[in-house]
């Protein structure tokens, strides 16, 4: 009996020792990652495949990625890639936990602009400037994935456009033309509402949807790129009448959104649109694939942002939608870089654009989908940035988040238009330094 006890004691000690020896979470040592040399590549033994784990916030793209990865694995039999997507709204949390723990993931999808910069600056990523194909990507797109050291830390994935999707048949059947200006949008919405149709399928439960809609509706109200330049140089701010006008527009649209839209999810709003209950839907161009999957016969067309006057230029609101970067703690940096090379190739860009009906960030990719082609042409004609994401994505909480939450507050009558502008400016004042 005593012998059994001794063996048991030894077994428990071994268990405890093995638990203690596994690397503890390094949440306290986040800073230590900075500056340390990249882990040398561990070449896999012949025939032994290396598995790379890849995080994404796009569960809806799972099937397409299975195809892309199969193509990659055909060319690189020794490298297996495991695509692990998470719910978009929870992705940041999962990503920051994985990065601080330093285990479990090799390739990560990075939020664009300040999202990527903060992770790169914290030392969690490998620079990929030397990866073949990266330097061929247009510079403005690479800027969305740079650290403050100006090195590139991600392969930009796609260019998103914020657009108004509309159901051609509903508009035709009700004898209205697609709106081009703010006044026309109001007239069309009134006409549709009078006929019992929801004019715009907008959801408000997730506040980020409101700032996307604002970028489409409001850019012409505050004066597009000229105003953005003034804001960046400090000549203008969110308290200006021009910007307040853009918020006022959002308020004036309330009767044309679905009833109780602040309580509904984006999926519900999408369903209202693709089932023909709503005539328009405002969101990123990435929803095109969703609609075509859900309702292939839906007669969809798109409109860019609103023009200032009839026949004027309607800006296409663009931003880079994330990039893929290599985690510094990966055990397989060489293999991960080989995968980056694949992501930066025209071959992947074309597949990505064709299969997901999106505009690739890779130079030379020609979209197959006519609507994606239309978006590209409109972007070439006139383009404006998604102001909040591209330039105001910093702070705690970020100015973008503050603006979105304040808009939500406005819709439930807790905040006035002036207070939304005031809160947004107060948030920007804490961190934003105008360019001199």
């Amino acid at each position: 009996m005593r012998r059994v006890g001794v063996w048991l004691f030894c077994a428990i000690l071994m268990l405890v020792a093995s638990a203690c020896s596994s690397s503890p979470p390094s949440s306290n040592t986040g800073g230590q990652a900075t500056g340390s040399a990249p882990t040398p590549a561990v070449e896999p033994a012949k025939g032994e495949p290396v598995e790379l784990v890849m995080y994404s916030w796009r569960p809806e793209d799972k099937d397409a990625y299975a195809k892309f990865i199969a193509e990659f694995e055909k060319q690189h039999a020794n490298i297996k890639v495991k695509f692990k997507p998470f719910k978009s709204t929870e992705y940041n949390t999962i990503l920051s936990n994985s990065l601080t723990a330093g285990t479990g993931v090799d390739i990560v999808q990075l939020r664009p602009y300040s999202g990527a910069t903060s992770i790169a600056d914290a030392g969690y990523l490998l620079p990929i400037d030397d990866v073949k194909g990266v330097q061929d990507i247009p510079k403005p797109y690479l800027d969305s994935a740079r650290g403050t050291d100006q090195k590139v830390y991600g392969v930009p994935l796609s260019i998103n456009s914020a657009v108004i999707f509309y159901n051609k048949k509903i508009l035709e059947d009700n004898g209205v033309q697609p709106p081009q200006t703010w006044d026309e949008l109001i007239q069309v919405s009134q006409a549709l509402k009078a006929k019992g149709i929801i004019p715009i399928a907008q959801a408000g439960k997730a506040a980020y949807l409101l700032s996307i809609a604002h970028s489409v509706i409001g850019t012409s109200a505050y004066g597009g790129n000229d105003y953005v330049e003034k804001m960046l140089s400090g000549e203008a701010n969110f308290n200006d009448d021009a910007f307040k006008e853009s918020i006022k527009r959002m308020q004036e649209l309330t009767p044309f959104f679905p009833p109780d839209f602040i309580g509904i999810d984006d999926k519900d709003a999408q369903a209202l649109f693709y089932t023909g209950k709503a005539a328009m839907y405002i969101n990123g161009s990435y929803r095109l694939e969703t609609f075509e999957k859900q309702s292939p016969d839906l007669p969809i067309d798109i409109l860019p942002g609103l023009a200032k006057e009839k026949g004027g230029e309607a800006p296409m609101i663009n931003w880079v939608d994330g990039s893929y970067g290599v985690v510094k703690a990966t055990k397989h940096p060489e293999e991960a870089k080989i995968f980056m090379e694949f992501l930066a190739s025209k071959e992947f860009g074309q597949m990505f654009s064709d299969d997901l009906s999106r505009l690739s960030a890779i130079a030379g990719v020609v979209p197959k989908h006519p609507l994606v082609q239309k978006m590209t042409q409109l972007s070439e004609k006139s383009m404006a940035p998604f102001l909040m994401l591209v330039h105001f994505g910093e702070g705690t909480p970020t100015t973008k988040t503050t603006f979105e939450d304040s808009l939500q507050g406005m819709y439930i009558n807790k905040l006035t238009v002036d207070k939304v502008a005031e809160d947004t400016q107060a948030s920007a004042d804490k961190w934003f330094k105008p360019k001199k």
């Binding site: 602040i262 309580g263 909480p397 939500q408 439930i412 807790k414």
Partner: protein, 319 residues
Amino acid sequence: MPVMEKTSAAKPKTTKVRRTSWKKHLVHLFLLPALVFYIWFQIYPIFSAFLNSFFAWDGLKRGAFIGLENFVRLFTESPFKETFFRGLGHNVIFFIGIVLTKLVVAFLLALFINSKIRGKEFFKMVIFMPKLLSVIVVGFLFSLILNPTYGALNTFLKFIGLEELARPWLGSPDTALYTIILVNSWYGLGFAVLIFLAGLQAIPTEIYDAAKIDGAFGLTMLWKMTVPLAMPSIMVMTILSFIGAFEAFELIFAMQGSQAGPYFSTDVLATYFYRLAFGSVAGGESIGLGSALAVVLFLMISSATAILLFFFRRKEYEQ
């Protein structure tokens, strides 16, 4: 001979003592793995949060030691202070709501089940059943039921002609928090009923018989006999409800997301903590501020629980 007897009697006693102590140590050894897990997942994060709260953070990178600055900012700087006190207010409403619904309703249900009725086991099973589900599943189910566009509740209200009662239960700041409190109470009711039932069944029936002889009936009996005698279980449930109300997170997260909308109308300290600490990869000093909030929450819950325990114990002695 007597000496021999003494010796032989003493021998087995020593062996027994040794065996008992050996077994005792073996029990401790078996507890070791659990202790390691407890230290790793419970104690270490508490200390880690304490430590992180004293440092400046730049995104995911820990910076310089800044003492109590994170705490000062949390209570003095906008929008942190407003969000903190709004969350705290919602926690208090949550607690009052739970006490009113879970404690009062559960106690009445326990009295009902404890009385001489048929089908006691069936009632117990029905009341306890929600607790078998995961809280995330409950949150998801109720999100569907309460959906303003196609949810079953509004559809049912419209069907029976009570259309004016149909509303965006989770989409209006007037109803969202109370709706979540009701769902939470529905979910936890069975557990509270079981605790109260155990308390009620421990009361000796002779005491009731004696009270009846003295002329006590109905509400007098309930107020003067049952409630004081069931006080230990009421005490346990009040403390658990307090901890539950100030730790409330999963259900709100499942039903309203980390933004705890609309416009923070269901935001409590735990959802605010989650948002502050983990919500944004780009967020500058989030982890330091989030850790400071976690520490404040920990101190609030532990000290209030200690006060409640002290108060209830004293009340118990008085009785």
